[in-house]
Symmetry: C2
Subunit: 282 residues, 2 copies
């Protein structure tokens, strides 16, 4: 496994694969890898000849009061894990390599589906994601790109701009990887105190209960209210609980496939999770 | 020469060239081709193995009161001209082929350098250009893309977002093609009455006079004022006369290379032109 820190180095590493028309798979990450990321790499390994993983903590997707500076950077450990799951090339550029010295004037905005859910509390966040992912796509030029369904809104935003801009690759969404107790894996779980770590799986349990209620015929609004009650009682400060179509359109009743979204704070740590509930076939 | 009207058809036509690692040159146009466009194709022909020309009147770069509906569409004549100058593939998609049936949510904005000059009178115009050019780049995936220097601001905007987004191609700016009397060729020249067509070359003469004045030591502000006087006296309604660096930064004195920009209406027809004046080496 090679590690490249420059765009030029990465291109040189990938050129033989491109010339041989090999299938290139790409997994963009911010590092501090856990089993969720590794499952993305395993999925890429199945479908592709060459697997590239980027590790880049992207400054422009963090708000001024967010955790850019303190975001965990664990490159050596990440390299070790990636080598084990069959990554071919790690791309770990500096901020300067990605953004250069001249000011960036270009922004990519995906309207409507970035203004609510996680976008409401994080203005500009998804613009920053769209810009960096577009840059990485143009640098790596993969055939397939792999993203976790945990960041479901991010995945929907990426699918949208890939379609709108005709970016020549296929986006693959990979199901959420969970700890044994159900907590969706996240780099931010490491911020949780032991006590809060024990409470955190309540989010997934609440989503499972909601699914059962929906399938039993409880009205959607009541199900969402129950989720709020449960999470608040457990000590969460709920940021949002919402039901959307898989394309993130608002939905009033469980009359089609629905995705249930939760974002909630436990202490200072903001956790997100989601669960897709299939509408039962008639 | 082939004509493709679908993205799929174009990809099928280009795949053998891609597999053989041929150099692909791309000239995006809105059709109604004149010698200016044909010179872009000739330039592409020199540098590339395969030359693709797109003909697409892009609705999203026209304002509500602009000439989208009346913009001249002359595909057969264009095909004939392109075959003569060695174009390999014409890509002439429909609006539906380019934008599909689902709403486009993604926008690309290049700040600062799109808000003035032609952008001031045409809000959203350069966003529409950035989106369609990015889409075409992703569809054609050329090694080189050719644009005329007549639309100097457009060229600067394209260079900017190509750099900011790491789009993997080289942008080539091709000098303005002029009629014998100096008028910069433009599809919109066809809108001019015979009388106004005779007046139109005054723009270029004014630019040449300005260059001579600058090189003779006249202050930049005075030179710009003289241009305004001359054009107004000739019957133009001046939209703007400006001096900028080649990167479109404002400039107060002729102490470096400068580009002089003119946009002016003659009757109902808006004409633009520009001239780069090199700062004399010491």
């Amino acid at each position: 496994m090679k590690t490249e820190t420059t765009i030029q180095g990465l291109s040189a590493s990938l050129n033989p694969a491109r010339a041989a028309r090999k299938i290139i798979g790409f997994v963009p990450t911010m590092g501090n890898l856990h089993e969720g990321h590794l499952n993305l790499v395993r999925e890429a390994r199945k479908l592709c000849d060459v697997v590239v993983v980027s590790i880049f903590v992207n400054p422009i997707q963090f708000g001024p009061n967010e955790d850019f500076d303190s975001y965990p950077r664990t490159l050596e450990q990440d390299q070790h894990l990636l080598a084990e799951v069959g990554c071919d090339i790690v791309f770990a550029p500096t901020v300067e390599q990605m953004y250069g010295n001249k000011p960036r004037l270009t922004n990519i905005a995906v309207s409507d589906i970035t203004n609510d859910l996680c976008g409401l509390q994080r203005p500009g966040h998804f613009d920053g994601v769209a810009v960096v992912v577009t840059k990485l796509f143009n640098i790596v030029q993969p055939n397939f790109a792999f993203f976790g369904q945990k960041d479901f809104q991010q995945l929907a935003v990426i699918r949208q701009f890939v379609r709108d801009l005709n970016i020549p690759l296929e986006v693959i969404g990979v199901p959420i990887t969970r700890a044994e107790d159900g907590l969706a894996l996240s780099s931010r779980n490491g911020y949780l105190s032991a006590e809060n770590r024990a409470i955190a799986p309540t989010i997934y349990k609440t989503l499972q209960t909601a699914e059962a209620e929906l399938l039993a015929g409880t009205a959607l609004a009541e199900v969402l209210a129950n989720m709020n009650t449960t999470l608040t009682a457990a000590g969460f400060v709920v940021d949002y609980i919402e039901a959307r179509t898989p394309e993130l359109q608002k939905i009033e009743q469980f009359d089609q496939d629905v995705v249930l979204f939760v974002a909630a704070k436990l202490g200072a740590t903001r956790l997100i999770d989601n669960l897709q509930v299939k509408y039962p076939a008639a």
